[in-house]
């Protein structure tokens, strides 16, 4: 029972990790860069949703869609004003720029919304569900469902849309992609828009769990092991990685923490990742970089 509860906990918590990790994967697929501002992207969503819900008094679903739209705009603006300017710069500069972005966005959040923790009016039912002795909070169940839906959407998207192909081509060789008639700008814009939207969704779910305050952006770094475990360029990897890390964390918390005096929960993902990388240098699902001479 204890084990099962840990397992389920891991999965539900992992679904949020997966969601946030997805944002990283999308950006990586299109530009080979790590979006270190992902955590701040996550931060924006719930604030916007909250403003829509409390200040404008719209129902949650409308606020949710509104948030998606505004997040999309945020993604677009970021791409236009920052990423596009660095089109010809090395990837590491782009990574650095996202770092700058994270500081800038965090500053913006502070300026606009201040420092206090805000809470969502209850959106999801508050009473925990008892599934045969295993207790799950509805918010987490919802994140699990949403993650699954997104997984399907993205898999289909990458399979059937040209953008999916273009994203990978752009990441592979930008100049060659241009010569194929792929608009690098368009591809990047779409990627950032989607990534911002995904982050927004993750943020809203997270905000429903623990309220919203600027420190929430820390999730950005927390999920890095997830992304790496799954493989930087794999959508399915992000999700599976999310579940795995969630489970590992909970099991470690459940069984190992009592032995070492606690605190392993936050370190264990990194240890696991280090070990797994030794066996699979590109994560579980990441594609191997090709080098031929």
């Amino acid at each position: 029972m204890f084990f099962l509860q840990m397992l389920i906990n891991g999965i539900v918590v992992g679904s949020i990790y997966g969601l946030v990790a997805l944002g990283f994967v999308l950006i990586y697929r299109a530009s080979g860069a790590l979006n270190l501002a992902n955590g701040e992207f996550v931060l924006f969503g719930p604030y916007i949703c909250l403003v829509l819900m409390t200040a404008l008094n719209v129902p949650f679903l409308v606020a949710f869609i509104g948030t998606l739209i505004i997040s999309a705009i945020l993604g677009l603006v970021v791409e236009r004003l920052v990423i596009r300017q660095l089109q010809n710069a090395p990837t590491i500069s782009v990574i650095m720029a996202t770092l700058g972005l994270s500081s800038l966005l965090a500053g913006a959040v502070h300026i606009i919304w201040g420092h206090t923790t805000r809470t969502f009016p209850p959106v999801f039912p508050q009473t925990p569900l008892n599934l045969g002795g295993i207790i799950v909070t509805p918010v987490y169940l919802w994140s699990f469902i949403i993650v699954m839906i997104l997984l399907i959407i993205f898999s289909l998207f990458f399979k059937f849309s040209k953008i999916g192909l273009a994203m990978r081509a752009v990441a592979d060789d930008r100049q060659a992609a241009l010569s194929m008639g792929m608009s690098v700008k368009f591809v990047l814009a779409v990627t950032w828009i989607i990534a911002a939207m995904v982050a927004g969704i993750g943020g809203i779910l997270l905000g429903n769990i623990n309220g919203v305050n600027p420190t929430m952006s820390a999730i950005g770094l927390t999920v890095l092991p997830v992304v790496i475990l799954g493989g930087l360029d794999s959508v399915i990897g992000a999700i599976v990685g999310g579940f795995l890390i969630g489970i590992i964390q909970n099991l470690a918390g459940g069984y190992l923490d009592p032995l070492v005096g606690g605190g392993l929960k936050d370190v264990v993902p990194f240890i696991v990742v280090l070990l797994i990388l030794m066996l699979k240098p590109h994560g579980l699902f990441g594609s191997r970089g090709i080098e031929r001479v």
């Binding site: 204890f2 509860q5 840990m6 906990n9 918590v13 949020i16 965090a106 500053g107 502070h110 201040g114 420092h115 206090t116 923790t117 809470t119 508050q126 925990p128 207790i135 909070t137 997270l206 769990i209 623990n210 309220g211 305050n213 600027p214 420190t215 820390a218 999730i219 927390t222 964390q249 909970n250 099991l251 470690a252 918390g253 459940g254 923490d257 009592p258 005096g261 606690g262 605190g263 929960k265 936050d266």
Partner: protein, 395 residues
């Protein structure tokens, strides 16, 4: 004397705010402030900083301190210790601050040696027991019961109020930082002394969004009480997950785990019955000490709804510092006030009446812990209500 001050006096710096007499013949005294506004503890750091500033503004409103030109120069270090170290240098060298109002445990401890070397009295919002040690921290002052004393007070309360036949059992929930671990050993030692059994300890990260594995582990030991040494975020996580899992342990938070914010975050429902250390008064409590603050708020066109307990806490810290400066200024009417003189001022404070905003404080050359007294409160109907008066575990 330290080298820092030596070369400062020979420097050609042309900073305006040096601690010399201005044209009106008043002596300028600069107090430095280190705030966290934009960092990890910004939610409590900001009202605290506002409280400190408010007190200085209030003083000015009331005509200031006789013969002194008192200034508070505060800077946001975003809870980054290296930044705090830089800003401290700036306060010391550029602003010529002679006393510091600090903030977190990490940065206070990081600056401990330095302030001792520079001889600048330092009051921070960290109530770490370490700082009581006069050999190691000769310039640090504690304005409220240390975390350890808070824990001891809780233990005393438990022993006195525990119902049931078996001796009370206790769990400790804290995070892996200097702040989190600060009282743990002392609490364990004291628990042993008073016959409370510590059955479990769990480490929960400051930024944890869930703590189910830890709580389930704790549940196995089924403690009667659990003491929380966390900030609001993690405390909220603990209370919520405990509710979800149907854990019936009585949670009791130290001062940073208590306060209004916790109710705001988890909702009155979940918070109901949660007990916490109330080291300072809430604005809505009708304490005599509130009069000054109300006067200030009126002048600013604000009400007590605009402030919270952390504001009060900052206000009190500033007030104690100013009190010390007044004493020092009286004793040393000539020349610039220096750090050691202000320290003397602080050490001369005897049973300073804070009008119920906090326990009265006294210092002495061999005691920098202002008080051991604190009180407990409980959340009832979405509001904190004190359940004890200020008391010391020794009482």
């Amino acid at each position: 004397a330290c080298g820092g001050e030596d070369s400062a006096s020979t420097s050609t710096s042309s900073d305006s705010s040096s601690s010399s007499s201005d044209s009106s013949g008043k002596r300028t005294v600069v107090v430095g402030g280190l705030y966290d506004i934009t960092g990890g503890t910004g939610d409590v750091g900001t009202p605290y900083a506002e409280g400190e500033k408010a007190y200085f503004e209030y003083l000015e409103m009331k005509g200031g301190v006789e013969g002194l030109n008192l200034k508070l120069v505060g800077k946001d270090y975003a809870y980054q210790i290296p930044e705090a170290q830089k800003l401290y240098q700036e306060l010391r060298d550029k602003e010529k601050a002679v006393a510091i109002l600090g903030w977190g445990t990490g940065d206070t401890e990081a600056l401990r040696q330095q302030v001792a070397a520079d001889q600048l009295p330092f009051i921070s919002a960290s109530y770490s027991e370490n700082l009581k040690n006069l050999d190691e921290s000769p310039y640090n002052f504690l304005t409220a019961a240390s975390y350890s004393d808070q824990g001891r007070a809780i233990l005393k309360w438990i022993v006195e109020n525990h119902e049931g036949d078996n001796p009370p059992t206790l769990a400790l929930l804290y995070n892996d930082t200097a702040f989190g671990r600060s009282p743990i050993e002392d609490i364990k030692a004291y628990a042993k002394e008073v016959g409370v059994e510590v059955v479990d300890e769990q480490v929960i990260d400051v930024q944890a969004t869930e703590a189910q594995s830890q709580l389930l582990n704790m549940e196995k030991k089924n403690p009667d009480y659990a003491i929380i040494q966390q900030t609001w975020g993690a405390t909220a996580t603990i209370l919520r997950d405990a509710k979800t899992l149907g854990i019936d342990t009585q949670f009791i938070g130290l001062n940073w785990a208590a306060g209004e914010g916790i109710i705001d975050i988890v909702g009155a429902d979940v918070a109901e019955g949660y007990i916490g250390i109330l080291s300072h008064a809430f604005p809505y409590e009708d304490m005599p000490g509130m009069a000054e603050m109300k006067e200030y708020l009126d002048a600013k066109g604000k009400t007590i709804d605009d402030i919270n307990q952390k504001f009060v806490q900052g206000w009190v810290a500033a007030k104690i510092m100013v009190e010390a400066i007044k004493i020092a200024a009286e004793k040393y009417p000539e020349g610039d006030l220096t750090g050691p003189q202000i320290r003397e001022g602080l050490e001369a404070i005897q049973n300073l009446d804070l009008g119920g905003l906090a326990a009265n404080v006294s210092f002495a050359p061999d005691n920098h812990a202002g008080t051991e007294k604190t009180r407990l409160g409980i959340v009832k109907n979405g509001k904190w209500e004190p359940i004890t008066d200020y008391f010391s575990y020794r009482d």
